[in-house]
């Protein structure tokens, strides 16, 4: 009984926070399973589906890291308050975009492959979306948080296109001619 309780506790802890290295594949497979189940559920409204899906994947993403990567060199030039505002807006934008992509899911089979450790503190996890006549590859990139065994996603690669790389280039080009404030405004949804 105690063991079961402990296991339950462990699952809850894992669910609420980042993932440990040895659990990456199982936790992500679990999350994927939960999400496809939600998306297939006809009794739920699209809005409800989105809310539930975001709740599932939210703890795995490090939005701060993503915001930092997206801004690149410009990040260091910002004040603390600016960094916070930007991170918040960017997080919202990312979630919005993520939700939007979920709408495109049409009962395809989803396979989470074994993680690949590319560096000591980087892991790539490939998920295949197998449709009727096409297969898409999604690669989630994880990094290890300093002095911990907590892993977070910092980039998603959709069919060969890195989401972070795309934002980074766009923001760099934008800030070349326009102000930071204008960038913040453009992130408003």
């Amino acid at each position: 009984m105690f063991k079961k309780l402990l296991l339950l506790l462990a699952i809850i802890v894992v669910g609420a926070h980042a993932i440990e290295e040895q659990n990456i594949q199982s936790v992500m497979a679990q999350k994927t399973k939960q999400m496809t189940k939600i998306l297939k559920d006809k009794s739920l409204s699209m809005r409800e589906k989105e809310k539930r899906c975001i709740k599932i994947v939210d703890p795995v993403f490090s939005y701060k890291t993503m915001a930092k990567i997206a801004l690149g060199k410009e990040w260091k030039k910002l004040s603390k308050a600016e960094k916070e505002t930007f991170t918040k807006r960017f997080e919202k934008k990312m979630k919005h975009s993520y939700i939007d992509k979920l709408k495109l899911y049409k009962n395809q089979k989803v396979v989470v492959e074994a993680p690949k450790k590319v560096k000591k503190n980087r892991i790539k996890l490939t998920t295949k979306i197998i449709g009727n006549n096409e297969t898409y590859k999604i690669v989630n990139s994880f990094f290890k948080k300093k002095h911990t065994n907590q892993w977070y996603i910092y980039d998603v690669n959709l069919a060969g296109v890195s989401v972070m790389q795309t934002y980074r280039k766009q923001f760099a080009a934008f800030l070349k001619t326009k102000s930071f404030q204008a960038l913040l405004d453009s992130l408003k949804i």
């Binding site: 990567i69 975009s97 006549n133 300093k146 002095h147 972070m164 790389q165 795309t166 934008f174």
Partner: protein, 265 residues
Amino acid sequence: MRLYYLLSILLIISFQGCSTNQITISSKKTLQVETKKESEEDTENFDDEFTQEQDTVKDDPLSGYNRFMTSFNDTLFIYLADPISKGYATVFPEVLRLGISNFIHNIEFPIRFTNTLLQGKLQYSADELERFIANSTLGIGGIFNPASTIMHIPAHNEDFGQTLGYYGVGAGYHVVLPFIGPSNIRDIIGLVGDGYLSPLMYDKALKELRIPQNYLQSAGIYGFKMVNKNALHLGAYESLKKDAIDLYPFLRDIYEQKRTSEIEE
């Protein structure tokens, strides 16, 4: 800190054994220090994984034309191709659209087969040949796709642009083509090359091997192919577009990233 160095030297010496000379130890020591530094400070440094070059006019001399063509294609898509696809999708059920998509894919087999051969990827060529035979026979002329659904033979979408890239040909300037969309010099040459192999492309000298008997029919077939494809992916372009701050560079980057990763595979 000094104690740490001393300790690490001691540790290295003990691992190296007694015969190691002084020079090896010192080089090992710096190595040790470097990896230590990386694990603590650079674990959250991502700069080497992403680029941030600013695009200059030199990299994209056609940007003026490309921008114009991007908005032309965008307008065409939103106001013409998309409504047609939506209407088409309501008339033709998904099963039928899939069948058409499968049929077109199957008939373009010579492109994939030739390009896998040209790249020396013989396993891929064998896969493609097997797929073609299975889908043409069991799949009733390619309308069904038993090669994927039953036999699980992977498809390999190799084209001539990828073959050129495989042999080190650079992308060249980015060019947005009317109706077709983002491309570059290498991929345009690729498209022309693949045109010689495609049974869907009119060719005077190879008339017997082609379905269209003139260029107009060819254009019609490609237009139909696009509508059918879009009808299977309704909303995908609109969804993608929402992530763009500036549509032209956004689509350009996505295209070039995608092609690079396709060539690497």
